[in-house]
């Protein structure tokens, strides 16, 4: 184990660790908090909630977003809900059960203590969001309603129609807006991080590029939080927003932050299948639809009949058949692979034979159209707008797509990366979901990190720095980073080749999806590790960016992001190749049991792989953080 990978997990029983940490942590006097500047990059759930809370506490906070407004962050697109161990249903939920389900759902590849803390604070999140006015769904008596989600046998998911992410993000955004209005937070919008600056091994701040003027500028702070989301857009086609990118995390990685488990990517089972070659992104249909929708394909290969002409006995409700106890609510990785196998076996449906059915006719028969409309109306409308088909009349067609990335910057228990003073929160870190994330847990983690973890742990780091001088933006490390960033962006303009950044992104995405997507093999990964560097070489030789660097230039922005996706793509494939086991979202075809389920190798791979930058992603150095399981027993993950 690298000596940098100290998890700093507090002592004590699993249920006491967080309390023990809080009891022992160092505090900053309320009057001294304003002497510390905290830079928060990203304004999604994790970033907005952290920034708002730190400002409430009295810290001097600056927030950076590449959007025109902090309210646009991609957390807004989460549909289904947020988990919390409230047990309002009286169905046997508890902090321990949410903890256990999350560790198991992650295929026993997460750090137990972090997950337990997540389950503990989940209940505070719901309280906090209700107090802020998030209009969660209610029962007729006025109490909060919940529903079930994949990977759980309880109804612990709180929701606001099909727009839970929107409502939670707006809640956090409004708290942030309040602090901006009070002058406690300075907002930098349409500004993108282009480098992280370290001085004597500590994070001293960041360098940004103004997307409107092209100005490159330094910002110094006592601590920096990266809440910059995941890297699912490495696949080009994904459910991520068009502007989601890995740049902030990758630039941090290049400055010494270890990148953990990049091969743990989540392929979401219920997205609308690709319709043609111009497609720019894939649209998710909330997993909550699997509460009432039944997944099936025709029994016969190449069955070209419309769905309603295929009789019941000629349909294969394969999830119900293979996983009777979880049925259509089997976890995402398992459902995705089952869909891939159904389509690969020639039983795909739709014009391109690239989907499976998600059928609501039984639910409509059982509950009536009105109830189905109440539950999923907006999702059905969205499906119809995109496909031109009415899901009340014909079954939806769905297929898996890249959706979320469990991997990310390695962080310790305090969410600090291997660079002191640099934190990573939300999807940008690797910490809580192991090799697979359960539905409705991303919103929970983003808000847990921002509202209830960072505000404590950052104080613990800052307290000893009181009245100590820190490097300002005139430090040579900042000027050097600025120069490098200017040269890099000018470099993209100067190549004057023949292919656009989008063209390269699409080609790169195809390689990663084919070789490092739902199913991986050593042979395929080795091929990808030959193909990606070759394409990257072409990118550096043949890129074409039109326009200039002194006004809005979305082509130039894209070039910088694709550059970083290339380097990350290599690391994803190397990580997948080194991990000689199957676990969660990482499925290596060589490692499966007789029934085709993932075969973990706990003896050799019950660890986090954390990669250290060495100047070239092909030469990155792999370190291990061994995972020790005290509170749960390593078991085969079965949903049968």
């Amino acid at each position: 184990m690298s000596d940098k990978l100290q998890s700093k997990t507090p002592a004590g029983a699993m249920a006491d660790k967080w309390d023990n940490f809080k009891a022992d942590m160092k505090l900053v006097n309320p009057n001294n908090k304003r002497k510390f500047k905290v830079l928060v990059v990203g304004s999604g759930l994790a970033g907005a909630s952290a920034a708002a809370t730190l400002a409430e506490l009295g810290y001097d906070v600056e927030v950076f977003t590449f959007h025109d407004s902090p309210r646009r962050a991609h957390s807004i697109a989460a549909q289904g809900g947020i988990n919390a161990a409230k047990n309002y249903r009286g169905d046997g939920d508890s902090i321990h059960r949410l903890f256990y389900d999350t560790v198991k759902g992650g295929d026993f590849r997460a750090r137990e203590a972090n997950v337990h803390r997540l389950a503990e604070v989940s209940v505070n999140i719901i309280d906090q969001m209700v107090a802020q006015g998030v209009p969660f769904a209610r029962e007729y008596g006025g109490l909060l309603d919940t529903r079930s989600f994949g990977g759980a046998q309880l109804q612990r998911t709180f929701y606001a129609r099909g727009q839970t992410g929107q409502q939670l993000l707006l809640g956090a955004y409004q708290q942030l807006a309040r602090q901006i209005g009070l002058g406690a937070v300075k907002l930098w919008n349409r500004v993108e991080l282009v480098d992280v600056v370290t001085v004597d091994g500590r994070c001293a701040g960041i360098v940004t590029r103004d997307l409107v003027t092209g100005e490159v500028r330094s910002h110094a702070g006592h601590a920096t939080v990266l809440a910059t989301g995941g890297y699912g857009n490495a696949f080009f086609l994904s459910t991520n927003a068009m502007n989601c990118n890995v740049t902030a995390a990758w630039r941090a990685h290049r400055k010494g932050a270890y990148f953990a488990n990049p091969c743990y990517t989540q392929i979401h089972p219920t997205c609308i299948p690709q319709a043609d070659d111009t497609q720019s992104k894939l649209t998710l249909m909330s997993e909550s639809l699997r509460n009432d929708g039944r997944v099936w394909v025709p029994l016969q290969e190449g069955d070209g009949r419309p769905a309603h002409e295929i009789p019941e006995h000629e349909r294969d409700y394969y999830l119900e058949r293979l996983y009777p106890s979880f049925g259509n609510l089997a976890p995402r990785d398992i459902s995705s692979r089952a869909a891939k196998r159904a389509v690969d076996s020639g039983r795909g449906v739709g014009p391109l034979k690239n989907g499976v059915y998600l059928d609501f006719s039984h639910a409509i028969g059982r509950l009536g159209k009105d109830v189905v409309k109440e539950r999923y109306g907006n999702l059905f409308d969205m499906y119809e707008r995109i496909t031109g088909e009415n899901p009340y009349d014909v079954p939806m067609r769905i297929y898996p797509a890249s959706h979320y990335t469990m991997g990310g910057l390695w962080v310790d228990y305090e969410l600090m990366t291997t660079v002191p003073g640099l934190y990573a929160a939300g999807e940008a870190n690797f910490s809580d979901h192991g090799a697979n994330r359960l539905g409705a847990s991303a919103l929970m983690q983003g808000l847990a990190d921002g509202y209830f973890v960072l505000p404590y742990t950052i104080g613990n780091y800052l307290a000893p720095m009181l009245n100590q001088p820190v490097p300002g933006t005139d430090h040579p490390a900042f000027t050097a980073a600025e120069e490098e960033a200017r040269a890099r962006f000018q470099g993209y303009l100067d190549v004057r080749g023949s292919r656009s950044p989008d063209w390269f992104h699409r080609e790169l995405g195809k390689i990663i999806w084919d070789k490092c997507g739902m199913e991986r093999t050593a042979e395929g990964l080795q091929q990808a590790l030959a193909d990606i560097p070759a394409l990257y070489e072409e990118f550096r030789r043949d890129l074409r960016v039109t326009g200039n660097g002194a006004s809005v230039n979305q082509t130039l922005e894209k070039a910088g992001r694709v550059d970083d996706f290339f380097q990350l793509g290599m690391l994803m494939c190397r990580d997948a190749l080194e991990r000689n086991e199957s676990c969660g979202g990482h499925f290596r075809a060589e490692y499966q049991d007789d029934e085709g389920e993932a075969a973990r190798d706990d003896d050799n791979f019950a660890h986090v792989a954390a990669w250290e930058w060495s100047g070239d992603p092909m030469q990155a150095v792999r370190h291990k953080e061994e995972l020790e399981f005290e509170a749960v027993h390593l078991a085969k993950r079965s949903y049968k």
């Binding site: 927003a241 720019s280 074409r544």
Partner: protein, 258 residues
Amino acid sequence: MSHQLQDLTLKIWRQSGPADPGHFESYRIDAISDEASFLEMLDVLNEKLIAEGLEAITFDHDCREGICGTCSLMIDGQAHGPQRGTATCQLHMRKFKSGDTIVIEPWRATAFPVVKDLMVDRSPLDRIIEVGGFITANTGGAPDANIIPVPKPVADASMDAAECIGCGACVAACPNGAANLFTAAKVSHLNLLPQGQAERWSRVEAMVETMDEHFGSCTNHGECEAACPKSISIDFIALMNRDYLKAKFKNRKLISQS
């Protein structure tokens, strides 16, 4: 099944920056699948422009799922185009036919200056939220979530208002450039809920007055509701006006008596 649309003419607003007066430029799309979204058609056009060595058209967009509110195009004079209750990113080419000429402009409103081409600055909307579009509830002190029951019809009405995506289509569609639907949606979301009562009157006052600093006045045209991608009702404007009027007469010591 997908079909191809042929021979589209696009008249697109080009403006290199706030100081440039701007102009329309015409572009041709020879063929595009009707499965393509409107923005994917612009992607295709931009790829073509880059291939010809020309600068791509700047336009705001992000989630392409109709929820982030970033996309903002005036299509044939309609904010977000011809399909009701649909943001630009969810508009698909099947709503058009071969041979069509499509005019694409940025949001037109004094409060939204053009940044470049089809991109505008909508930050005055954030200023309205910053003065009152929140419930003051610092992290940490919240009581149990079920301690205050919210009747389902109230929660539903609040949610109807809260669906606003902040795209600014209401402002762009309004002949006066008013932001009343946007502001009313946030005022109503919070003022309807029991949690929002403590700041009900100060909220509406602050938000309406900040709105008036940046935007035009509402004269009940109703264009905003027609353009809203979330079909938010102008009834909320009535609710905001009622609360604003009440707030002006309210004795703040008796604030709990609504």
